[in-house]
């Protein structure tokens, strides 16, 4: 039996109102509607979700790991960008 592999979809789920959609994994599905259902059945079995996005994996443009020195290395020497030079009062909680 010859089988054409189904397209891959990346799945993003928002767990709670106010949170961002977070990448949770991927599913195979023939089209967007079925991808949404596969994502629901695969990744929200334990009440993880309020909202699901599926995106064709082919639509994602990824950075080249070989470029990591150029892209990310320069920030290593800029510790002043981290907000670690202030004391944040306890009551503020998560900013």
């Amino acid at each position: 039996m010859s089988e054409t592999p189904m397209p891959l979809w990346e799945v993003f789920i928002r767990a709670r109102t106010g949170l961002a959609h977070r990448h949770v994994g991927s599913v195979h599905a023939a089209d967007a509607e079925m991808a949404l259902q596969a994502a629901r059945d695969t990744y929200t079995r334990r009440g993880e979700g309020l909202s699901i996005w599926v995106v064709p994996a082919a639509a994602i443009t990824a950075s080249d790991p070989a470029d990591k020195d150029m892209l990310f290395e320069p920030t290593a020497s800029k510790p002043y960008r981290h907000p670690t030079f202030y004391t944040v009062p306890e009551e503020v909680g998560h900013m």
């Binding site: 599913v27 195979h28 599905a29 079925m34 259902q37 629901r40 059945d41 695969t42 079995r45």
Partner: protein, 256 residues
């Protein structure tokens, strides 16, 4: 281990018909576990099976309470023989191929959704609560199976051939979903279970909508199979129960 016989009043019989259909269909779906065409679908079918199992458990528990003989959901599921099962025949037919499984799931869910919606207004508060939960589950089953019916019916030559075969086999089993006997009439009159006539119009609408998109012709309403709701089953149910009931019958005191 001895077999039990439930005292069947119109209400316990009505509950057993619903519970047995859910349990037996759930078992058939569970036979796909580890065998579905793809991982995602394996999970989807298992999810539906678990929804139905949950419905069956709640309905058996309620039936046992109504009977008042001190039995449990497990007694009702595991200690009755095939002639005492009251499920519709469609639920017990062998697993078949994926098209058959999907179409059966769709036909049963297309009935279950309006049925549970109507039952949510039952005068039996426990049943109304079960229905309110089952309604949401059935809505997803209609959607999931319906989308697959569309894709298989309107898919490749092979998928369409299989869907047409499944439709030929399954359609004569749809009549049982709308049968009414004296026991049904009693619980309908009491406002406990809905009249199947209420379910007919939404069922027709769902079937027609999905079949139109799938390019499937709705078969003519001809001769229909019957008997499951009175305990006259196909030869397949006994084999299913042998597998399902073996462990609790062989080891009645086994616990997890």
């Amino acid at each position: 281990m001895t077999t039990i016989a439930v005292a069947e009043t119109p209400l316990t019989l009505g509950l057993l018909r619903l519970a047995d259909t859910a349990l037996v269909h759930s078992h058939r779906l569970s036979e796909w576990c580890g065998h579905a065409p793809m991982l995602e679908e394996d999970l989807a079918l298992a999810n539906i099976a678990l929804d139905l199992l949950g419905q069956a458990r709640a309905l058996y528990t309620h039936a046992a309470a109504v009977e008042g003989a001190g039995r449990t959901e497990d007694d009702l599921a595991y200690r009755r023989d095939a002639p005492q099962f009251r499920n519709v025949l469609m639920a017990e037919l062998p697993r078949g191929d994926f098209a058959f499984t999907i179409l059966r799931g769709f036909l049963l869910a297309a009935h279950a959704l309006p049925f549970w919606q109507a039952t949510a207004g039952s005068r039996d508060a426990t049943l109304a609560a079960i229905a309110a939960k089952a309604e949401k589950e059935a809505a997803y089953h209609v959607r999931h199976c319906g989308e697959w019916v569309i894709r298989l019916g309107d898919g490749t030559g092979e998928s369409r051939r299989r869907m047409l075969e499944a439709l030929d086999t399954l359609w004569p089993f749809t009549g049982e979903l709308f049968e009414v006997d004296d026991a049904d009439r009693a619980v309908i009159a009491d406002g406990i279970l809905p009249d199947p006539a209420v379910v007919r119009a939404p069922w027709d609408a769902t079937i027609d909508r999905v079949f139109a998109e799938a390019g499937l012709d709705r078969p003519a309403e001809g001769w229909m199979q019957s008997g499951g709701r009175w305990g006259r089953h196909t030869e397949h149910l006994g084999h299913l129960l042998a597998v399902m009931q073996h462990l609790p019958r062989a080891y009645p005191d086994a616990t997890w």
